[in-house]
Symmetry: C2
Amino acid sequence: MTDQSWDPYERDCPTRQLLDRIGDRWTVLIIGALGDGPLRFGELSRRVDGVSQKMLTQTLRALERDGLVTRTLYPQVPPRVEYELTQAGRTLQGPLGALDDWARTHMVGVLAAREAYDLSV
Amino acid sequence: MTDQSWDPYERDCPTRQLLDRIGDRWTVLIIGALGDGPLRFGELSRRVDGVSQKMLTQTLRALERDGLVTRTLYPQVPPRVEYELTQAGRTLQGPLGALDDWARTHMVGVLAAREAYDLSV
DNA sequence: CCGAATCCTGCGCGATACTG
DNA sequence: CAGTATCGCGCAGGATTCGG
């Protein structure tokens, strides 16, 4: 063994792969919105304020592709589609919830630090 | 009170603010790299594989501005600068570590689901 | 109601070159 | 070693329009 105790962030490490996947503006918010149970397309777009139809569709497709969300089409007219977290998707709720808690606790301080810094410049 | 149990993701909620802040390719990796203790600029750029000088500087400045990282200049030649997590910055290690653990456990499955999905299309 | 397809723009970010 | 300055492209993603 070497004395290298730190495993560096290589380009293809799991952390990077996850970041590439959820590191956009909408994925985390959509997973959060689905946390309470299945939602229809329209309900989702209302809960995630400001998301465009295109990005909502695109993000949901990606989540479905990765096995984190299921898409269920009820063949009726008008069409009804429901999205729901899979088992795997639900395992993300914990880590994401921790981030959410951090945000509620610390973001005020961060914003204050930012203002103070700007004044000092 | 209303029967509205869900607090929607308004444009300025803490979650969104945090996401706007750490939702880029480098911030999370840099905080992770600083988790073991202070590091110099050059050490950081070696640990975070692929980060450009520009993005490393830029991200570190933003972290300093938000009170998550301190920058210490040792006036000697050649110059020596060390970056270190602040108390507030260290409180992020928990939530970020949880995400990291998730990635190590589940990303393989996600990648597999993705491949399966692509084949089925 | 739920999407797909197209067009168009901003700016994130990498590459490169230069300072103290 | 640790930055700053400038240029330029790629592409995420918003607006809009059309289909089932």
